[in-house]
Amino acid sequence: MLIFKILLASAVLVMSLVVAMYSTLIERKMAGFFQDRFGPDRAGPWGLLQPLADGIKLFFKEEFMPNTADKLLYILGPSLTMLIACLTSAVIPWGPDIIIRGQAYSLQMADVNIGILYIFAIVSIGVYGIMIGGWASNNKYALLGAVRASSQMISYELAMSLSIITIVMMSGSLSMRDIVNQQQGFNWNIWYQPLGFIIFLICAFAETNRSPFDLPECETELVGGYHTEYSSMKLGFYLFSEYINMFISGAVMATLFLGGYHFPFIDKLGLSPNAFAFVSFLVLFAKITFFGFIFMWVRWTLPRFRYDQLMRLGWKALIPLAILNVLITGVVILLNQK
């Protein structure tokens, strides 16, 4: 059992890294498409080797550290960001149980009964990596970027948590597995909580610092934002963790709102348990890919917000809407009980 868990954890880690690696290529290809150009196509067929080339380039770049930087914290910043980005995948159920030699193995690393709170916790400590890195660089632009990033993430955390509370109210459980199992077939949460889904999606953009909320690294105002002073693979860690975060937040959204690995006519296929688990996993992966597409689509379509607009949207639009959503859900649940 322990060996299986370790294997599963390694597989999920490798999967997140590979997906993040190729997201960079897909992102650039899509940017090319949206801007009517080709995108990277020199390295390998259709540019398939481009992520490898980028990785090698980052590794061989000069390792630069500012003289005035706080050495320990300067290194801690990107490491922490990377570590925290990889932590969330532990509570996501990647598929139904698979059966090896008559014994059922769960495709979820930890079925803790507080899975959603675990995700809240990881999201709320996600600020540290950026803040520490931005402060330790001892650079005005980096500090401004870090302060922007953290106030933005703190603000959008609230609306995000409030929009998940409705899901918890409906399912009556904090466990991710229970929430997925209540969305059998086409009985997805998005049909009951469309407003909650939209709020969560917007907050996911803000939490991953993606455009149109990418003010922490706003090039036109802050040079490079919190990673201005970073180079080589430390910069790579910051950029890379953004793609891991995209992948994981796609997985969380698919799990909470789009039924996780469930799909319509799930029971009519008549497959063996293992093949069924595989198909279910592919369905979940397709949903995550869909979210990845939305992330990129929005980035290359919408312009960036101004900072006061961002704060106004978060505090004066999303949070009241989320509270209203909680109220409505509560009333509907009460009426249904009678």
């Binding site: 507080i114 709170l117 916790a121 709320s124 803040m131 520490i132 302060v147 953290s150």
Partner: protein
């Protein structure tokens, strides 16, 4: 026992980082060491099978309060230790007060029967279901009153934060 080793590791970590909060020269290091202390204590909660408490502890302390501390320290740019050296009588007073507090704590805890919980993983009180039942059945009124207290604090914070005169 594997969990014993984890206990000793977490305790050592908590004590070390708590001492380092005091000894660090830069305020920002103190803040980060305090965060580390909170994580170690969160680990202790998990050892006691109180997952809910552990996660809430991390969300509230590490995720919210310490981030605000970090914010303040960064924005005030308290990079160097700029406190002037304290006069000798302040140091003496601090030592006497600390020793007296220690004496009181020892006197209090001497009376307790400090037994080791034999099977901490069998205790269910820290799980979210049990905790919710206890809070909403046995301690309904105090729980609701404290939530009103929080609401008052929130309204007060908004009032203080308003720039224009009311």
């Amino acid at each position: 026992m594997f969990s014993n080793y984890i206990f000793y590791f977490l305790s050592a970590l908590a004590l070390y980082s708590a001492v380092m909060v005091l000894l660090s020269k830069k305020p920002i290091h103190s803040v980060l060491y305090l965060t580390l202390t909170f994580f170690a204590i969160g680990g202790h909660y998990i050892l006691l099978n109180a997952q809910f408490l552990a996660i809430v502890h991390i969300i509230v302390y590490a995720g919210a309060i310490m981030v605000l501390f970090l914010f303040t320290v960064m924005l005030l740019n308290l990079n160097k230790d700029e406190r002037s050296p304290k006069p000798i009588w302040v140091k003496a007073a601090a030592i006497i007060a600390g020793v007296m507090l220690g004496l009181v704590l020892i006197a209090v805890f001497r009376g307790y029967d400090l037994h080791l919980e034999q099977h901490p993983m069998e205790s269910q009180i820290g799980l979210v279901k049990e905790l919710g039942r206890v809070l909403y059945k046995d301690y309904m009124l105090p729980f609701e009153v404290s939530s009103i207290l929080f609401l008052t604090a929130m309204v007060g914070a908004v009032l203080l934060g308003k720039k224009e005169q009311l």
